[in-house]
Symmetry: C2
Subunit: 219 residues, 2 copies
Amino acid sequence: MEFAEYFPIWDKLAPGEQKKLSDSALYRRVKKGTLLHGGSEDCQGLLLVSSGQLRAYIVSEEGREITIYRLFERDLCLLSASCVMQNIQFEVTVEAEKDSELFVVPSGVYKALQDESAVVANYTGQVMASRFSEVMWLLEQIMWKSFDKRLAEFLLNETLLEETERLKITHEAIGNHLGTAREVVTRMLRYFQSENIVKLSRGIVEVMDAARLRELCGK
Amino acid sequence: MEFAEYFPIWDKLAPGEQKKLSDSALYRRVKKGTLLHGGSEDCQGLLLVSSGQLRAYIVSEEGREITIYRLFERDLCLLSASCVMQNIQFEVTVEAEKDSELFVVPSGVYKALQDESAVVANYTGQVMASRFSEVMWLLEQIMWKSFDKRLAEFLLNETLLEETERLKITHEAIGNHLGTAREVVTRMLRYFQSENIVKLSRGIVEVMDAARLRELCGK
């Protein structure tokens, strides 16, 4: 596992900067379900994914969740180092959604580089702009898209990520991704089942008619 | 109107950078209601507010609106120069919500500075982090706060911004801020009126009981 291979702007850094980063980056292998970051006081460092899948989400006071984005190979999670990003005033939780491998870049090391280097600072800005864009997309979905379309889109995306039509996922977990009560998910899934779009069994949602799902979400 | 007085990191710039910015910045005085930026293809420049109030909002395909943030004196609007910010993949519209004075910094000039200067790049990141935080706040409100609380918070905020309890605002305009249909706004305002919290007349919402509004939104 070479840090250099995964850090997107490696070639644009000076040798001294490269050394600081690779010397300080910690390699971690984590099991599915591992909590990697929780709350703004926890500022261990930036997470650079080398394999697997992470999920960033927010939690309401009542414990309701909504997924705000996911991170895949070569993605960098800035918000786990929110102390590095001045003016970030919200808290996200990050967990491994699959068994994953990642590098942790200590916050202090990254901050020192960013303060000195326009290249690093601009890269941080680009990553933040990507996450910001994902949240804007989510906001538009929530505001203007009906729940059947959001659920259809979610199920289609899951079949791609999991590479199977037979999804091992509970209604509650779907609700936590979409920020919706379990009952609402169950109701819509049963409607999908009555239309032969999905088939439900314990802990399983099997997509039977992906074409109809695509049609539903206008793809 | 001195640009230097309004640009937040002026003192941290080198004299050459200061000159580039102040030579290129255009001073504009605009009337309430002026459209300052619309869509991602329009990339005239960064807007630096010297007085007044701007509103940034998104618009759905059906023409529904929701305010994502407002800009006041000394605030910088990056998204009107989204071509400068790599990876910004959404479109906002910016309009003057009051008669306003502002500077327009041409996108190309700012981008050239940002590419060279860690100070400018980090400042851009801070501004983006602030806007990102505002959108996250909004997302949490929409997901987890009931409409009566959001409306109470909006009305209280308006009385502060307008410095009067007697707000000249239509139900439709409130709907456009909050991303809600006019009918929903009217229904809730009538309920507030029945509780003697507000008094409604043509084009006017008068706040009668600010304490109750504060109570409602938990302030």
